[in-house]
């Protein structure tokens, strides 16, 4: 509110009034944008250009002002590196699993909560809690729950007779990634389910009723009616989840730092440890650029698919 009030007060109540040009001059929109544009330019534009430059140099974190231009060396090196291949594969698995898991779980929960029942409002509100919780707190409680000695997860697994060998899930190359995925999806499914719930409101009830009346089974009705209405929303969510998962940092970094032996190392984790552990700013920047290009390809691809679907619909 303080912002609004301040802005209101700075507006002169009776300033110079111009008639005949009610829309202001042609510079008006630029003046409105200028402060925000300068801001984004300084804090995102300039650093991005610097990162692109860095990716073509060899630069140490210990002496960042001295860079040696090495051309495409960083790129050829990381693409020849087996560890980087594994990072790409881990990123791919992580992103796909996040998208499928969060959209799938979100859809299931949305369909469940879309039915009328007593206490539905409460249920919908409670379900959003994981998404509202800060990532730091989620990483902390997940790490505690997965603690090999006193964590509730291990105690539960032992009770039902499914002990994890060695007990330390986050230290196991086999179980660390699934544990991180479960935590990520737990945090994301409320968002996808709330968005899908509002998309489901647009499904005309008389159509589903008519389909059922015609003797269509539940599955067929879902595919022929519901799915057609929510398809664009599913596409949008898949795109959002992909982009968010490609840039997710805290949760993975705080739970495993990319370990054990690189089992949970995604592109962003790799780039951060290259910069701050190995102090190689050049290859860190190159890894980051690979991530940015992947995001760009995904966005371009999704627009292409959306256009094709539109043309088909016509």
């Amino acid at each position: 509110m303080t912002v609004l009030e301040r802005q209101r007060n700075t507006v002169p109540r009776s300033g110079t009034r111009r008639r005949g040009s009610p829309r202001g001059s042609k510079w008006t929109p630029y003046l409105f944008m200028a402060p925000a544009a300068v801001f984004i330019l300084v804090f995102q534009g300039v650093p991005l250009v610097q990162e692109i430059f860095l990716s073509f140099t060899r630069t140490s974190l210990l002496n960042p002002t001295r860079s040696t231009w090495v051309g495409l060396d960083n790129y050829t090196r990381i693409f020849g590196d087996e560890d980087f291949h594994r990072t790409l594969l881990t990123t791919f698995i992580y992103v796909i699993a996040c998208v499928v898991g969060s959209v799938g779980a979100g859809l299931a929960v949305a369909l469940l909560l879309n039915r009328g029942f007593r206490g539905r409002g409460w249920a919908r509100a409670l379900v959003t809690i994981p998404w509202a919780a800060p990532g730091i707190a989620v990483a902390l409680i997940a790490t505690w729950m997965l603690n090999p000695d006193y964590g509730i997860v291990n105690r539960f697994l032992e009770t039902i007779g499914l002990g994890v060998p060695g007990g330390a899930i986050l230290d196991s190359p086999r179980y660390a990634l699934p544990a991180i995925l479960a935590t990520t999806i737990w945090q994301l499914f409320p968002f996808t389910s709330v968005v899908l719930l509002s998309a489901l409101q647009a499904v005309p009830p008389h159509l589903t009723e008519a389909a059922m009346m015609d003797g269509a089974g539940r599955w067929w009705t879902f595919r022929a009616v519901t799915w057609q209405v929510i398809k664009p929303t599913i596409g949008l969510l898949a795109l959002l989840m992909t982009i968010w998962s490609l840039r997710r940092f805290e949760l993975i970094w705080l739970m495993t730092k990319g370990g054990p032996v690189g089992a949970t190392e995604t592109l962003v984790i790799d780039l951060y440890s290259q910069a701050f552990d190995s102090k190689q700013l050049g290859s860190a920047a190159a890894i980051g650029m690979v991530g940015v290009v992947v995001s760009l390809i995904v966005i371009a691809g999704s627009r292409f698919v959306a256009r094709a679907a539109e043309r088909e619909a016509r």
Partner: protein, 276 residues
Amino acid sequence: MRPLRIGLTMRILAVLVVLGVAVFPLYWMIVTALSSNSDLFAEEARLVPDFAQFGVFIDALAEGKALGWLRNSLVIAVGTTALSIGLGIPLGYALSRFSFWGKAFVTVVLLFTQMLPEALMVVPLFSLFRRFDLLDSLTGLILVNSAFVLPIVALILKGAIDGIPRELEESARVDGARPLTVLTRINVPLIAPSIAATAVIAFFHAWNEYVFAVTFIFTPAIQPASVGIANFIGELGTPIQTVMAVAFMFTLPAVVFYLFAQRHVVAGMTAGAVKG
């Protein structure tokens, strides 16, 4: 009659399972905070909070460190909210109401920023901050957090202004009001709910932010809670009950505010992403 009953029971069970999964980790945070040492490390886990242990919350605050963290987070979050909305309203207005050369480009840039990871930008921002003497200051964090949340704030507010009929502005213009007056007098009051929703988004973006805070702040006294709590992970000196009590006090405001603003926040985030 009978199959319907079974279906209904299954559905109620499913809803309860989903709710349990959604709520359990935060519930477990409370249980852990409110457990005595003997309960915590006992053979059998204690599954309900022991309210006799409530003093842990008071002790955590009285000790002073956690209170300082939360205060720093609050300063950063309030500053970020004010700055990003102050810059986002005029940007959203320009994108909504004017057609001008470069408009499509601006929209694409705003969407493009959504895919830049903080971890990528942290190195060049570090050198930028050193040059402008912004390292180790809350002001620096307010500036950078505002820049990162500004695009989504502007896109949501643009969508909100799109929804206001232009006719409402016309009469003010006929009276000779200037564009800025039209914006602050006519549009801003009408999009108040969307402003509130973006305020929640901006506030908790800054409240939760970790990467910049951990890299740019060196003095423990001005650390925000996200860094303080993250430092607990893997550290053994602090009792886990205190850790969970602090984490809970850090989490609670975020959850409560999202519950109130949920509908607007979700609508805003998808609208910002879809329509651009």
